[in-house]
Amino acid sequence: MNVAAPPQTPSTDQGAPGVTPGIRGNGSAPKSRSSGGLLTAFTWVVALIFFAPVVWMVLTSFKQESAAASSPPSFFFEPTLDQYRNIFTSDAAPYFLNSVIATGASTVLVLILAVPAAYALSIRPVKRTQDALFFFISTKMLPIVAVIMPIYVIAGQIRMLDNIVTLIILYTAMNLPIAIWMMRSFFLEVPGEVLEAASIDGASLIMTMRRVLIPMVAPGIAATALICVIFAWNEFFFALNLTAANAATAPIYLMSTMTSEGLFLAQLSAASVLASLPVVLAGWIAQKQLVRGLSMGAVK
């Protein structure tokens, strides 16, 4: 009796993000419509309060510095694009470029390593599959701060400090366990008949991978990539400790706007908006995959 086992009903809106099942709540007879309306209004109010800091950040990014730090806060102001213009003409580009390189390269590397590994832990499983899975996920629970010092020392000795390659390697190691778990949960959904048919046809492993498996789990690969992108793009601790002038990423740029020549709140807000935008957009588009990725495939 596994009381807490997750339910086996397939999620109703699986594979179709944004499509919601409109079944709930119709079962209980004619509920008064006004209470439902009140609840809806309440939900909206709560959501807007929760979202307000984001709105404030975006508003501030369109202010002049004087209006940004005014007391009382200025709600009505003449919007300006100055802050964004400043960022584009300032030295921000290398930071963002580094973020793009570290995120993109590590995500590609993760997928190259994780897809075969997940295959070997699901479709043609190695003997000690559970042990391997356990090992991968246990590394995720290792506090990063416990290994930063040796990494710093080693990177210093092999002259890899302030090098974007170091970040790429570390972000790959950071995301690989999650990616393997996620990809495995997608491979497990491939029906066995498909693979049997392929092996009867005498297709080689590489062929089966390329022609049959990869196309079938393509949505899974996209979801896995999304999660890797989010974590790599937002990463701060490694970037702070292992980079300086050459390899610093967008989070470091955000921090530098605060500490260099005093505080430029409006410009910081504009930089925050720009730095957050890629992940926010990706997360909005792939809400369903987000749940699966964050739970490492345990929740669909």
Partner: protein, 315 residues
């Protein structure tokens, strides 16, 4: 005849067994081959540094002192347990982690329940609610410490000023509280997403049957929904703890562990000792202690994740 026949079959079968074993081994390696690159990569990147951390933790080494390093056994561990700042940081870790996870879980449950019914604009509301989780944590931390909590022009002081409360210097007077607020804001969507997935995986016929049998909304929630959610709540709490216990960004940017060391948690204090104090031995010892503590939590988490995994594979 028979005398020669027996050893012949013996050798033949022995050969057959050997061949079979070789084939099995070859098959084993064929299966292992796709796994090895990832496995080796992760071992090299995580286990070697961790072994080095253990090595460092047994030695006295301070980059600022030239007398060099020496083996001190468990001396570093004794030192850090006598270090009251370390104990305070450990306590802060617990307060910040539990405070954030519990409050975010309750808010997330409330929001998930609100979203678990059809209404106009549900998709938009969900999208708005998950946004704080997607904002870059560095941006989120600075948004709270400056735009929200600044004593002179922060939005929070303006709001409480409307009801006549005098301004508060949040990050100096209530540093831990300020950090927890910013963290709760970031992690509530995470909790909400997991719990909403749990709510939506409920079987509709069970809920309908309960309603038909005259169960009130509260009874349905208490005796059907909540037990069903148990797995999701456990998963959300444990994953939440694993992520939040490592919080560094918010503390570094909002309070820098201050005032003094009032709001430093373990990751931040270890960072301070390593990169500002250059005390490699002690910071490594603290790292080892943190890992041991995390392993205890992790084992619980892993058991849970494996339980769900096995339950799924049986189906």
């Amino acid at each position: 005849m028979t005398t020669t026949a027996t050893p012949l079959t013996d050798t033949r079968s022995a050969e057959a067994i050997r061949a079979q074993k070789a084939a099995e081994r070859a098959e084993g390696w064929r299966r292992r081959a796709p796994l090895l690159p990832a496995l080796i990569f992760v071992i090299v990147c995580t286990q070697i540094p961790f072994l080095l951390t253990i090595w460092y933790s047994l030695r006295s080494r301070n980059l600022l002192r030239p007398e060099g390093e020496q083996f001190v056994g468990l001396g570093n561990f004794a030192d850090i347990f006598l270090d009251s700042t370390f104990r305070a940081a450990a306590l802060n870790s617990v307060i910040i982690t539990l405070g954030c996870v519990v409050v975010a879980l309750l808010l997330g449950l409330g929001l998930a329940l609100l979203l678990d019914r059809p209404f106009a604009g549900r998709g938009v509301v969900r999208t708005l609610l998950i946004t704080p989780f997607l904002i870059m944590p560095v941006a989120g931390a600075m948004l709270w410490s400056i735009s929200m909590f600044n004593p002179s022009y922060g939005l929070v002081n303006w709001l409480i000023g409307l009801v006549g409360i005098s301004p508060v210097d949040w990050t100096s007077q209530y540093p831990v509280f300020s950090i927890v607020v910013a963290l709760v804001w970031q992690w509530t969507p995470f909790m909400m997403l997991l719990l909403l997935a749990g709510l939506q995986s409920q079987q509709h016929d069970v809920l309908e049957a309960a309603a038909m049998d005259g169960a009130s909304k509260w009874e349905t929630f208490r005796y059907i929904t909540l037990p069903h959610l148990r797995f999701y709540i456990e998963l959300a709490v444990l994953l939440g703890v694993i992520y939040v216990v490592n919080t560094f960004d918010h503390i570094y940017l909002m309070t820098a562990g201050g005032p003094g060391t009032a709001s430093a948690n373990l990751p931040f204090y270890i960072y301070q000792r390593a990169f500002l104090g250059f005390d490699i031995g002690q910071s490594a010892a603290m790292g080892v202690v943190t890992v041991l503590a995390t392993i205890i939590i992790s084992l619980l988490a892993l058991r849970l994740i494996f339980r769900s995994l096995n339950a799924k594979e049986q189906s």
